[in-house]
Structure formats: structure tokens, C-alpha cells
Symmetry: D3
Subunit: 135 residues, 6 copies
């Protein structure tokens, strides 16, 4: 038996793809226009999934109000309207690709969830490019 | 090898979250505004998935017209434009959370599907809150 | 020159279509399953449009944070998770069709907007049925 | 640990469901209006998923520009604005059901992807009917 | 005061863009791959708008069940799963561009609507290309 | 008689809301977190509408391939993956609010369209905030 509840959220941010230890020319060769030194940005759409079993007393897997609050505090307040490269400590030395952003979000949420739950993070960087990370 | 076909459907309904054996104050404490005694409601969006193998003669996993008809008869006719708490027997003593609604739909469909198929039910209560149940 | 800004919002509610001065049989004849005495419900999606000219100082037609706050206070807090027939005074003697709900929302917002603005309200009752009211 | 990146694409095409070795009457009995000898058509929406691990140097699972180019060359150029039955060799003797189209797309992409990756293909034939194939 | 109700519908069909009185080379020059002699196809999404005033007795501008039935009979049954060029009389000598399809649908619906209503037809040929016709 | 064709496009960009002639404190007071000096960003979704009459020879209002090419050259190549404040000349002294971005896009397209056409630009800054400009 498998049951998962999902909550969608949203944040927008600026970023650029690059490695500090590469020069601009190599960054541009590998990351193309995504490496623009002046940054570009996205509306990131997030789907957080929590897998577990239903509490027979409430009929809830998890209280969605608590999940919504957790996502707001851990993800939206940390990333919304931010420059990921400059202002978010997790990306000080980590390239903010959608793969790495999904992993950072997963790590931030995981530590606040009971061990009985499994966690998945789906992150849309654009309507056509997205990533799913399940830990 | 894994192949799944999906069919979307829709119904709208009123409900409230509550337990008959709790008083109003405890219901409100646990379920908040979702426990409004006068009910509220949703447009529920449903995605039914059937996993199996392709019939080499037809190229179908299952005839989608049959699946559409099954969903209409078992789910839409039973739940559409209904008050889930008052009019749907499965919720007479079961809190109609999205988790429980998904499980009830899964049970209703499962008994009409050949054993060779696996079944999944994804149910959107709102565009931001949804649940996946795979039995 | 015409410029309009739009803000989307969301609420869910229960309702039934009926007239108090008609008996149940006539209500059902005219309103069908939408007249279910036990109510049904919807996720209402709302698009509020404000037409005017851009303030050359800010580049804003209207501060979207103020518009968002106005919609939250006047519409979402008044209608979300409510039974429209029972709990919303505007529908005490008004049939809560999507046409009438759109007009009530328009009236509630209009009185808080500067006369220099025009107002439109688009309301989705389901993904397939919606209404536009421009006053 | 599991990470999957997804890329959406689009093509539109005509098709009919039928078997050459069946007469028209049997084709219509099994495939209904989808067997119309004059064809009908769809906007097919495609989601290609690639599962693997992140390259620690780039932060990419796979370069999305390469994946986009692969989908364009192998799928869009082969299927877009085509009559699947008449013009696409893979369906010369294969009924172009959504199940079979998904399998053909999977086969076309699989041979160009490194063995270290897993591949999934989700194909929407209409907004309400879709299929997921994972090989 | 302006009020419009909308109803969405769907049909899928095959077509090609061409003029019988042009040779293939000129058709291809003007219409490109859309002129493929073997046809291609689309999922057409339709939004029908009816403008008028609310009946104070019912709170309806028009009974949406009647509008839904009219669209099904006049549009969906006439166009769904059809080859527009070959099987739909209106296109015997009319190029089935999205502009012309919208006008044909408008004409088909207009004659069944009371003169007191205005009519608009929005037709999506693909998620990125669409047309609005208001008569 | 009124006919409008629409084409959707997409670009993503970084920006901040601010006026050079205001100090940081006043910028933050008026524009809030949108004035973050390190920038944030969006996936901008664009709908370009062209109103006119149908060419009876082709059945086209305008060749959508030409419109698509015009949008790509004038809008996508100028704005995609750019920092609007730093790299786009039109915003050197103009606050890049969604209102102003829509007007800049309208101006860029207008000069390449025949006078017989009317032009509208709808721009989504987020899925919940958007603007329509008709010149």
C-alpha cells in the first residue's frame, strides 16, 4: 500500500550557472546563455510529495497546513525573490542547476519531517524543464 | 517493462472534515475551517492509471472507452454534485479527507478491473493539494 | 491606449442553486443536480482585472500587493470555505449562480477602488464553465 | 538516491487506428470512430524523463540542450505534421495507438542515450488520455 | 453593464491547408508542412462565449446545460474525429485554417442562439496558436 | 466583424524594480522585495494578438510562421536569459515593471506590423500576475 500527498508552492529567483574555479570562457562553453554574468531568472514551481500511511484517527497522512507552513518557512522564505548565487548560502560553492536546487530543497525539508515519511521534490525551472528528486 | 495508461475525470462535491464522535470544538481544532458545519466544496480532478501490458492484437493496454465508462459509472455518477458526508454511503463513518476519498475511489474501481492490471488513483482536491494512492 | 493588470485568486465553497419561493420540484426542474438540497461545491478561480494608466513615477498601474490584499480581505476571507447560501449575506435572497457570484465580487471590490480605474471580474466555477463581468 | 530530469516537447499528427488484416467492419467495431478511414489527429504532448546521477563537475544529470536536440531530431522531425500510418515507417505494420507511439518514441531515444541512464516517455494523446512507458 | 458566460469544449480532427485550384508546389510554398497531402491533425480546444444579461428569475444568462448540448450537437458531433477537408461540407471549398474553422463554428452556433445574445468563439489549434472570432 | 489570432512565446530574465534617482531605502519602501539589489527573475509568458481580417485567398489573417519569427527576433532574442535592467537598452532609464515590459514589447512589434493590423500584448510575470496592453 502506498499513499503520497502533494503540495505545490512557488518562488521566483535570479541565478546564473557557473563555477568559480572556471574562467568565463569555459563557463560559457559549458553553460551557454545560462552563464550570463548579469544573471537571468525563473518562476520556480515546486511539488513536494510526502509518502506514508493514513492516521486512522484523522484521515490525514500529514496535516497539509503544517506541510504548507514548512514549505513556506524552509523554501519560500529562503529562496523567493533572491539571487541564488549571491544570497543563498547553500549555493555559495554549488552551481544552482535545477538538479542541485531540488537537492538543496529536499535536504532542507527532510530534516523537519518525521522519519516515518518518505519525501520527493519535483521542481519546474520552466514549464518545459523540470526535475524529480527522491533522496 | 512497464506501461501505464491514464484517464482524467472530474466531479464536484461538498464536504466537511469531521468525526461524529468528536465535539465541534475538537473538530475545529484539528480540521480548522475545513470542518465548517455548513460544508464547503471542491472541483475534484481525478487521474486513473492502469498498468499492464499491451494486447499485441489491438495495441491497447485497455480499451479507453471502457475505462472512461467505468469511471463515469463508478465515480462520477456516485460522487458528482453530491454532499460526500450526507449522501455517499462510504463516508457515513469515514472522514472525507482527500486521502480517504482516493482510497474509496480506488476500491470502487479495483473490483471491476481484471487482476492482471495494477491501479493507481491521483486526486486533486485543489490545484495545490493532491494525493496519489496505488493500493 | 488601454492597459489592464490582472491578479488571480482562489476560494472554494459549497452552494446550491435554488429559489426559496419555489418548491423543490420546480427548483430541480430548472436547476437540475445543481439544486441538490445537501449542497455541492467548487474550487472557484478568480481573475480580477484593473484598467487604467501607468503611474510614470513607479511604472505601476496599481500596486499589485494592495490589489492582492484587497482581494484577500474582500473576497477570499468572505467566501473561502463557506456555504454561500447559508453563510454569505449577499446570497440570503440571491441565487448563487456563477453570474451572480461574479456580480457580488465586482460590487465588493468596486467600492474600494479609485474611480479612475475600470474593473473586470472573471470567475471559473469549473475548468469548463466561467463568466466575465465588467460592470 | 534517485534523480530524474524531464523535458517537454510537442508534435501534431494525423492517424487512424486499424489493422490491415482486418476488414473495415471489424476495425470499426474494435476501434470505433478512431478508425475513421479518412484519419483524425492530435496535438501530442511529450514528457521525456532521464534518470541518473548528477555530474559533480557541472551539476547536470544531462545537458538539457543535448536532450532537447535529441528529442527534436529523433521525435519532432520524424513525427510532426505527419500522417503516422502513411508516412512513419515504424507504423507501416503497427497500429499507432498511444501505447505503441510511446514505445516507438522510447526505442528511438534509447539507442542514443548512454547506458548509465534510464529513460521514461509520457505521451498525452489528448488532455484526458495519456500513457507512461518506462521500457 | 456586460456579462459573458463561457463554455469550453474539445474535438480532434485531421486537416491539411491547401487550395484545390493551386498545384502542390504553390500549396507547399504558401502553407509549408501544414499542406502535407497525407494530412496532420490537432486537438482543438474551443471556448464559446455568450454575452447578454442575467435573467433575474433564474440568475442565469443562459442555461449552461443547453449551451453544452448545443455545442455538442453543432460542433463536436460535426467535427470530432473527422477529416475536415474530406468529411465536413463547410470545408469542401474553404481552406480549414484556424481562422476559417472559428468562423464556421460561429455560424453554426449563431443560428441557434436568440438574437438578444452576442457570440464569441475562441479556438486553440495548438497550445501556442489560437484565434478569437466575434462575428 | 472582429478576428484576432494569438501566438504564445516565452522568455526568462532577471530584473529588479527601482529608480536610479531614488535611494535604496525609498526603492525598498515602494517596491519591497522586488527591489532586491541582487535581482530576482521570472519565466515571462507572452501572448501576442493581431487583429484584422482574413485574406480570402489563403484563409490566414497573418502567416503565423512570420508572426512566430517576428516574436523570436524582436522579443525572445532581445530579452531571453537577460538582465533587463543591465542589458536591455529600453530599460536603461525605465523601471522594468510588467506594465513597462509589455509596452516595450508592444512598441518593438508594432513597428514591424502592417498598419492594417491592431496589436495586443498580454504578459504573464507569474502565473498569478499579468498585464494586457493594446496600445
Amino acid at each position: 500500500m502506498s499513499l503520497t500527498v502533494y503540495r505545490k508552492a512557488h518562488f521566483n529567483a535570479a541565478h546564473r550557472l557557473y563555477r568559480k574555479d572556471w574562467d568565463d570562457s569555459r563557463n560559457e562553453q559549458v553553460f551557454g546563455k545560462c552563464s550570463n554574468p548579469n544573471y537571468h531568472g525563473h518562476n520556480y514551481e515546486l511539488e513536494v510529495g510526502v509518502t506514508g500511511s493514513v492516521d486512522p484517527e484523522t484521515g490525514f497522512l500529514i496535516d497539509m497546513e503544517l506541510l504548507k507552513k514548512l514549505i513556506r518557512e524552509e523554501v519560500e522564505e529562503a529562496l523567493d525573490h533572491k539571487n541564488l548565487n549571491v544570497e543563498v548560502p547553500e549555493f555559495a560553492n554549488l552551481n544552482p542547476t535545477m538538479e542541485n536546487i531540488a537537492r538543496v530543497i529536499w535536504d532542507k525539508l527532510r530534516k523537519h519531517l518525521d522519519d516515518k515519511f518518505e519525501l520527493s521534490v519535483k521542481l519546474y525551472e520552466t514549464p518545459r524543464n523540470f526535475v524529480l528528486y527522491t533522496g
